[in-house]
Symmetry: C2
Subunit: 214 residues, 2 copies
DNA sequence: GTGACCATGTGAACGGGCGCACTAGCGTCT
DNA sequence: AGACGCTAGTGCGCCCGTTCACATGGTCAC
């Protein structure tokens, strides 16, 4: 199976979850088949792009008919590795880290938050939404033990690189960084970032340069 | 000024805030000039890319020397429209919306949260980090009055499109969507999204397809 | 003043992704 | 049975962005 998926373009990978969500909606609405056009509309992209993206997964459509919603949903889930849970650890039990832990949407989507870590001893031992806060010194040991697949960094920027290093040392293969700073990880470790200030500044740019005529 | 900036590639725009932050760090460290190479290292990109990106803003470097940190910082701030504040409104005073409002980093970076909105009358009238929660019915009227530039959507997915429509009707030119759903806005309105579940699923994909050899 | 040095700015080649437009193939209706 | 209609799958040209490599032009030492 990882033979066909020898290389799926990054841009396509980033769209798969959007299709997945659209498919889930269709299942909820008890719609059995869907055309690339309809799916494109739901995902906010071009229909040809949808077809090309889906063709990377295999030929799961039927010409003249469309795609079987449930079957495609299953194949895509499998491709995305969503047929099993990915335990998540959140580092930084502050404002943001707690909000994330309190959010049920992650567990529901197969990303259970199984541990939190913080450098502040006053926070160690507390529970956030039932999740125990451990000390950062224990990341390496505990992350391996708990089988952490994804580490979420919600510490101040100054600590982010250090935390990332610890997560990598613990064998965590994927890191999601919320701290507003550039961090680096070794090859073979996946890194993505969510940077709200950056998003706002991008919006600011376009708003500033918008044609006053409209 | 909007003559030279007739067209800055989107990819470049997305990197400018990263450079900006790097420059701010250099100012803190009292470093007066910086080379494209050093800046590239800090921003985690290629040096040639830095030079090309910066060249879109103008010829602010000095050959043989590098870039004057403070001058470049000023020019970039101006280009990004950060020389003045952009009032922000958050719609959805729940878990996430409150966390965002409680976060001081936005005001500090020139994006003061001046209003919150919620459909739940039990929440209307409350204050979150000093910000008053209004009813969503008042978005159109109040957003215009308060001069809202950017609207942040932190409601459930089912309400997101409706909220976006209200924001647009209120003349808000930029929307940042946290709800896990695709929303559309008219041409001329900027839209960006932050989707945590999507990020986790992308990480899941790469982790699933990682070569077991390492 | 002159020459060696150094980093910017940019032309050009390259690569990836996008979308058009065509072909392939399934289902259905006559 | 055959023709028609519909939609998946895809080859191809185009465009945007990245990167290399070099010429340009400024600084500094002497
Ligand atoms: N809160 C938001 O809405 C928001 C929005 C955008 C970005 N962010 C970013 O997210 C990060 C966290 O924000 P926050 O509001 O939760 O901050 P916070 O100060 O509330 O929480 C930070 C937590 O990290 C812990 N910490 C500090 N150093 C640590 C270390 N070395 N190892 C482990 N834990 C450590 C602190 O003890 C604290 O509990 C920051 O980088 C911030 O810029 C937050
Ligand atoms: N909390 C998180 O960490 C987190 C993480 C990722 C994504 N999200 C997404 O962010 C959104 C908000 O999450 P949350 O945890 O804050 O949910 P929440 O239920 O705590 O808050 C949602 C708020 O929106 C309000 N609301 C509902 N309908 C509305 C409408 N039509 N107009 C205005 N307000 C309305 C509700 O009254 C509530 O206050 C959701 O779409 C969620 O999927 C949240």
């Amino acid at each position: 199976m990882s033979d066909r998926a020898r290389h799926i373009p990054e841009a396509t990978v980033a769209r798969l979850p959007v299709y997945l969500r659209s498919l889930a909606e269709l299942v909820d609405d008890k719609i059995a088949t869907v055309s690339s056009e309809r799916l494109a509309e739901m995902a906010g992209v071009n229909a040809a792009k949808v077809r090309k993206d889906l063709s990377y997964l295999g030929s799961y459509g039927t010409r003249g008919v469309g795609y079987d919603v449930e079957y495609l949903l299953f194949q895509m889930s499998r491709e995305l590795g969503l047929t099993h849970d990915w335990p998540v650890a959140i580092v930084g039990a502050g404002n943001l880290g707690s909000a994330l832990a309190n959010y049920g949407g992650f567990t529901q989507r197969g990303f259970p938050v199984v541990a939190m870590f913080d450098a502040d001893r006053a926070k160690v031992g507390r529970r956030v939404h039932g999740v125990l806060v451990h000390h950062t010194d224990d990341i390496v040991e505990l992350a391996a033990e708990l089988g952490i697949g994804i580490g979420v960094i919600a510490t101040p920027a100054s600590a982010a690189q250090d935390v990332a290093d610890k997560l990598v040392a613990a064998g965590v293969g994927s890191v999601l960084n919320f701290a507003p700073t550039v961090i680096t990880v070794p090859e073979g470790v996946s890194l993505r970032k969510v940077d709200l200030a950056l998003e706002l500044q991008i919006l600011s740019f376009y708003q500033e340069h918008r044609e006053p005529a409209g």
